[in-house]
Every structure is written in structure tokens, then in C-alpha cells.
């Protein structure tokens, strides 16, 4: 079983083939960790690099992610049973007042492609809800998306709320979205900024593995 085949089908968005090959690999006693890393995550990471370079675009990422999810449906129970853990946990959402979700969804897909478990709170999420969920879910990362110049200030609100709730030290906060910049991220006290979904996932992985 050549795990690169899974990676290639994933990149092409061939969900059916990915699912079938993952099943076959399991039957051939290939380790679930290897199937995950060399078959699935490798494929998603290649897509991430190409997306960063604009060689593939949003639709390609979405269909690759769909293929990855098809494979994960088969693989997940086995991974859990063999004690394979994600490299970290992240809460991700679009801030209050903002309804845009495509960017956030892309980040989530790329995170999962790096083996990070994500809790997606959706869009227009109240700061108080984010705090609640951080207490409940205990993530390593809190990732905030804002597409409008007018809603990006909410990212600052969230950081201040985390401080007030005594949770700031427990998480790393990453921010992103079209009007957000490195300078803004530093100004509001975020731990990191990324310009696109693939860079965000690489940054997250770097932070988690430190």
C-alpha cells in the first residue's frame, strides 16, 4: 500500500477513493498513525503550500478538505482506540458583529490537516461565549477571524476579556482576516498573526510543538 496514493487522491478531492484506500490500508494492518500522517496530513499540507502560493484556490482547498474528512470518518475511531492524539486543541470563530466564515473554515481545514483538533464556534460569536467555551473546552489556541475593518476591534475585546477572566496565560491567541495585520496583532497583544489559512496552520503547529 503506497500511502502517497491517498495523499494524491486527497489533493484532487477524490473523497470516494480516499475513503476506500484508507479502509484498505487499515485492512493491510498499516498503522493508523502512518495513514494519518503520510496519507492524509501530507496531502492537506501540500494543498496548504499550493494555496499559499495561489497555485490552487478556495474551491480546491474545500474539495481536498472534503476528501480528507471522508478519510477521517473511517480513521477517527481507530485513531482514538490506538491512543493517537491530536497535537493540540483550538477554538476558532469569527468575532461578534461579523458574519464572514469562508476564511475561518479554510483555517479550520488546514488546522485539521496539521493534526490539530478544532472546535468551531461559528460566526458573530459574542466575546462572553468565547470565554465560556475556553473554560469548558480548555484549548491550547484561540483563533479569531474578522473580515471587516469595523469588527477587527473585537479581537482586542476578546483578549482583554481573557485577561479579566484569568485565562490569558492558558492559551495562545492567533488573529487573522483581511484587514488584520502583524502590526495590529502586536498592538492588541495577540500571540500570532497569519495572512492565510496555510500559514496559520504552520504557525499553530510551530506553537504547539514548542
Amino acid at each position: 500500500m503506497n500511502l502517497t496514493e491517498i495523499s494524491e487522491y486527497l489533493q484532487q478531492g477524490r473523497a470516494k477513493e480516499v475513503r476506500a484506500l484508507v479502509q484498505q490500508a487499515l485492512e493491510e494492518q498499516v498503522s493508523p498513525q502512518d495513514i494519518l500522517n503520510e496519507g492524509m496530513l501530507a496531502g492537506m499540507q501540500i494543498i496548504g503550500i499550493k494555496f499559499k502560493k495561489n497555485e490552487v484556490f478556495v474551491p480546491e482547498v474545500l474539495i481536498a478538505a472534503r476528501a480528507m474528512n471522508a478519510g477521517l470518518e473511517v480513521l477517527r475511531p481507530v485513531l482514538i482506540n490506538s491512543g493517537v492524539k491530536p497535537i493540540g486543541k483550538a477554538i476558532i470563530c469569527t468575532v461578534a458583529g461579523d458574519l464572514h466564515d469562508i476564511g475561518k473554515n479554510l483555517v479550520k481545514m488546514m488546522f485539521e490537516g496539521q493534526g490539530i483538533e478544532c472546535l468551531d464556534l461559528g460566526v458573530d460569536v459574542k466575546t462572553s461565549t468565547i470565554i465560556e467555551k475556553v473554560e469548558e473546552y480548555q484549548p491550547d489556541l484561540v483563533c479569531l477571524s474578522a473580515l471587516l475593518a469595523t469588527t477587527m476591534m473585537e479581537q482586542k475585546e476578546v483578549i482583554e476579556a481573557l485577561i479579566k477572566a484569568g485565562l490569558r496565560e492558558q492559551v495562545k491567541v492567533l488573529v487573522g482576516g483581511a484587514p488584520v495585520t502583524q502590526a495590529f496583532a502586536e498592538e492588541i497583544g495577540a500571540d500570532g498573526y497569519a495572512m492565510d489559512a496555510a500559514s496559520a496552520a504552520e504557525l499553530a503547529k510551530e506553537i504547539l510543538l514548542k
Binding site: 484556490f57 474551491p59 469595523t150
Partner: protein
């Protein structure tokens, strides 16, 4: 204090500013109109000036020592005068565009436009798009933005009628522009649920705002993102009397659209961003001096500019070049720029950029930006028609409004996927219908009532609430023939 010498064309001015002042803020506050499409956060790269001989982004420059700043050449106000007798009855109509203000002197006795006067919206230094302007308002700049627009309006009035006050001033524009004009904070328009402070038409004495007109009347708006500008457009095409299914598209920053379907009116807006005004395109610019506005390819590639030597690409030029590259299969269906050797134009691709001239190029990222914008438009049209209960083929006519629509080549627009191909033979370009509609009201003030009726009759479709919009947005990102 640090000395800042500003050289603007032949004029020189010396300012003394506090150390560590931001150069863009200094320039802006002293009345210099610097293009800051992204609102001043370092992203668009359009605010570059020369500082002590070096090109620098003014928004990222902090004044720490004495500097000499040289500004780029700017387009001046343009005016034209059709010689005619001025009777005592003069009215002025103004379209308050996000990018350009267009003023028209009307003489209702002759039912004519006697003169025009347009200028760049001075708020451009606060950002090219509406959201950036809203943001600055929420940060305390409402008064500054308000003053700028009042001054610009007075400049138009004096330019058209140096010796008298017009009897009335009729104004149309998008909802945010009208809020800023009225000194009303548009902050709530910038965040969900996006509510406006007012939508109804207004009438007041010019003295209220320091505007040099006896009476000022604002056309009504439909919603926060569907403005008086498209109401004016509806007036121009006499939409209330229209018996067929028609679509009115205003492809400015807000991508506003109104459809008349089976006797009912529906409207929506898909904010496609300033892509067609060049903001997210690396060599993009507005339709001004130096902008490539048309590109043709038969035996060779020919380029047309608005005027002068080619320095960048404006919306209509962008659409033309993308259509050409698609036809040549130098851009594939997914939007990837490929050096397809079967095309003679392949030799113009170097380092992932397609060169239109030695200096003006198109990048892969530009193509992606275009894909996002055109997908927003098509997805918006498809959802609007679905909510209105009609198909593309049942549309009898499609009216294209907005100055961008005016210069746009219809065939290119369809090839580039900006407009669905089913609409190709139904397109009628109507130019600046926001201006035309306000001219109609200036000529016959009772038409304000018709505008009110139009605004009240439109059912607003909120694309944020339509799941189909996200799905279509992804679906239409690719190019199809």
C-alpha cells in the same frame, strides 16, 4: 518639532509637526489627498510618496527628522461647460460617489444639463471602501470626513455657479455617504445586524450644514447597503412602469442590484470590494490618467489608456486582459496562470506575472482577487433571482450602471465570467444612473415622490442569511466557458 517640506507639483509648503507624527495623518490633516485604499494599515501600497528621495509608504512613515516629501501627480477636478443662458432657475444635482463626486448644473426651464463638475472624493485618504470610512468614523473621524464632503460639495457648487446659490441641490449616493454628509455616525452599519440611522428622503435648508444652496434634498435609501444611488437608477429606467422582468446592476464597490420580477421589486448587494477600482490588484488603479482601460488582442496586443502613458490597470482593462488570457488558455478553468506554449502571448509570462507592457503586469494573486469579486457578483445575481422566483432566461433586459459599467466591454465581461453568459445579448449600459436620476429629480421635483415609492417597494434580500450564497460563491469561483 520637525520640519516637513511638501512639494506638490510646482507648489512647495513647509510644515512643522511633532516628532513621531505619522506622515499620512500629517498629509491628510493638511488637506493633501493621498490615496489610502486600505485605510492606512500598510496593505494596499497605494499611499507611496517620496521621502528624502526614497519612495516610502506614507502610512508607515513616522517623522523623526526633517524631511522633504514629494507627492505624486494627482488628477484635477474636471469640468465642462455647455454654453447656455443662465436663467434664474438653477438647480444642481450631485452624485456622491465613494470614489468620485459628479455635479451637474440643471436648468429646468430648458430641461438641460448646462455644465458638469467632478472631482475625486477627498475621503479617499481614509480608505477606498465604505467599511474603512465607517471604521474611521467609529474612531472619531466623522466630523473630519463630514467637513471634507461638505467642502467638496461647495467646491462643486461654486465651480458650476460662481455667482449665485442654486435653488435646490439634489443629492444621491450610497447610504454611508449620505450618513456622513448628514454628520450621522454610520458605525452601526459596519457590524451585524448592519442598521442605518435613516433611510427616508430628506429636505432641509443648506444653512443647516453650511452648504451653499437654498434647499437640499436627499434621495431615499433602500437599506444600509442598497442606497439612494440605485434608487436613482431605478428612476432612470422607469422601473415602476416596467412590465417585463429586468435586472439593474450597479457594479461599484457595493455591487448593488435590483430585479423586477413578475411585477415585484427585490434588491440586494454583494460587497465585492474595490477590486474593480483597482484596490486589491497589484497594479490596479481607478479610471484616471495612466490607467489601461481597454486591451485588445488580434494579431498583437493593443492597449488603450484613459490618457497618457500606461501606468496601471483599471477595472475595464482588468476584465479585458483576463478575457484575453482565458481565450488563449493562459488562465485555466481553475484560474491558474499557465504559460501555454500554443499561445504567442505565453512569452509575456515571466516569474509568474503576465506583462502587458514592460512595467504593467498581472499576477496570479490578481487573478484570484478577480475570481473572488466576479464570484460575488454572479452568486448575488443567482440568489436574487431565486428569491424573486425567476430564471436568468426570463430576464428581458439587464441594465448596467456605474462608471465602471460604462467603460466595460460586454463581451469581455461574459468571457471573464463577471456576467452569466445567458445575459450577453440583454445588456444595456446606462452609465452614471445615480447622477442621471438626481438630474431627473432636479428637473422635476415631484419625482422625489416616485423615488420614495421605489424605495418602499423593494424587498431586501440579505445574502448573509442565505446559505445558497456561500454555496454559489464557491461554485462560481472557477472560470467556465
Amino acid at each position: 518639532m520637525k520640519k516637513v517640506i511638501i512639494r506638490n507639483q510646482e507648489k512647495e509648503k513647509t510644515l512643522y509637526v511633532s516628532e513621531n507624527s505619522n506622515l499620512l495623518t500629517v498629509l491628510r490633516e493638511h488637506g493633501y489627498l493621498i490615496n489610502a485604499n486600505c485605510g492606512g494599515n500598510g496593505q494596499c501600497k497605494k499611499c507611496a510618496v517620496t521621502v528624502n528621495g526614497k519612495s516610502e509608504l506614507s502610512c508607515q512613515t513616522i517623522v523623526r527628522e526633517d524631511v522633504i516629501v514629494e507627492l505624486k501627480k494627482r488628477a484635477k477636478a474636471s469640468k465642462s461647460l455647455i454654453i447656455d443662458t443662465l436663467t434664474p432657475h438653477n438647480h444642481i444635482a450631485i452624485d456622491l460617489g465613494t470614489t468620485t463626486l459628479a455635479g451637474y448644473l440643471i436648468n429646468p426651464d430648458h430641461q438641460r444639463v448646462i455644465a458638469t463638475y467632478s472631482l475625486h472624493n477627498p475621503q479617499m485618504s481614509y480608505g477606498a471602501d465604505i467599511i474603512s470610512r465607517i471604521k474611521h468614523c467609529s474612531l472619531g473621524k466623522l466630523s473630519a470626513l463630514h467637513q471634507l464632503i461638505v467642502q467638496a460639495i461647495n467646491e462643486i457648487i461654486i465651480g458650476l455657479l460662481p455667482k449665485q446659490k442654486p435653488q435646490s441641490l439634489i443629492i444621491s449616493g450610497n447610504t454611508v455617504m449620505l450618513h456622513i454628509l448628514m454628520n450621522e455616525d454610520p458605525t452601526l452599519i459596519g457590524r451585524s445586524p448592519y442598521t442605518a440611522n435613516f433611510l427616508l428622503s430628506k429636505e432641509f435648508s443648506g444653512d443647516l450644514l453650511g452648504i451653499k444652496a437654498e434647499k437640499v434634498r436627499l434621495l431615499p435609501s433602500i437599506s444600509s447597503f442598497i442606497g439612494a444611488d440605485i434608487v436613482a437608477g431605478c428612476l432612470v429606467i422607469d422601473i415602476l412602469q416596467e412590465k417585463e422582468n429586468v435586472l439593474l446592476l450597479d457594479l461599484g464597490t457595493n455591487g448593488e442590484m435590483i430585479v423586477k420580477a413578475k411585477g415585484k421589486l427585490y434588491g440586494t448587494s454583494t460587497a465585492m470590494g474595490p477590486a474593480f477600482e483597482g484596490a486589491n490588484i497589484e497594479m490596479g488603479m481607478g479610471g484616471v490618467d495612466g490607467a489601461i482601460s481597454a486591451v485588445n488582442y488580434e494579431e498583437s496586443l493593443t492597449i488603450e489608456t484613459v490618457s497618457g502613458e500606461p501606468e496601471g490597470l483599471c477595472g475595464s482593462g482588468l476584465i479585458d486582459i483576463i478575457a484575453i488570457l482565458r481565450n488563449e488558455h493562459l488562465i485555466d478553468e481553475t484560474g491558474l496562470l499557465r504559460a501555454n506554449q500554443k499561445s504567442k502571448l505565453a512569452s509575456r509570462i515571466t516569474d509568474g506575472k503576465f506583462y502587458l507592457t514592460d512595467r504593467v503586469y498581472l499576477t496570479q494573486k490578481d487573478i484570484r482577487e478577480f475570481q473572488l469579486a466576479k464570484s460575488a457578483v454572479v452568486a448575488g445575481i443567482m440568489v436574487l433571482l431565486e428569491k424573486a422566483g425567476i430564471t436568468l432566461s426570463s430576464l428581458k433586459r439587464v441594465y448596467l450602471a456605474g462608471s465602471f459599467g460604462f467603460h466595460m466591454n460586454k463581451k469581455s465581461a461574459v468571457t471573464a465570467g463577471l456576467l452569466p453568459k445567458e445575459l450577453k445579448d440583454k445588456i444595456i449600459v446606462i452609465g452614471n444612473s445615480s447622477g442621471l436620476g438626481s438630474i431627473m429629480v432636479a428637473n422635476d421635483q415631484s419625482l422625489m415622490e416616485t423615488c420614495n415609492k421605489i424605495a418602499a417597494a423593494v424587498t431586501v434580500v440579505d445574502l448573509n442569511k442565505e446559505l445558497k450564497f456561500s454555496q454559489y460563491f464557491i461554485k462560481y469561483m472557477h472560470f467556465t466557458f
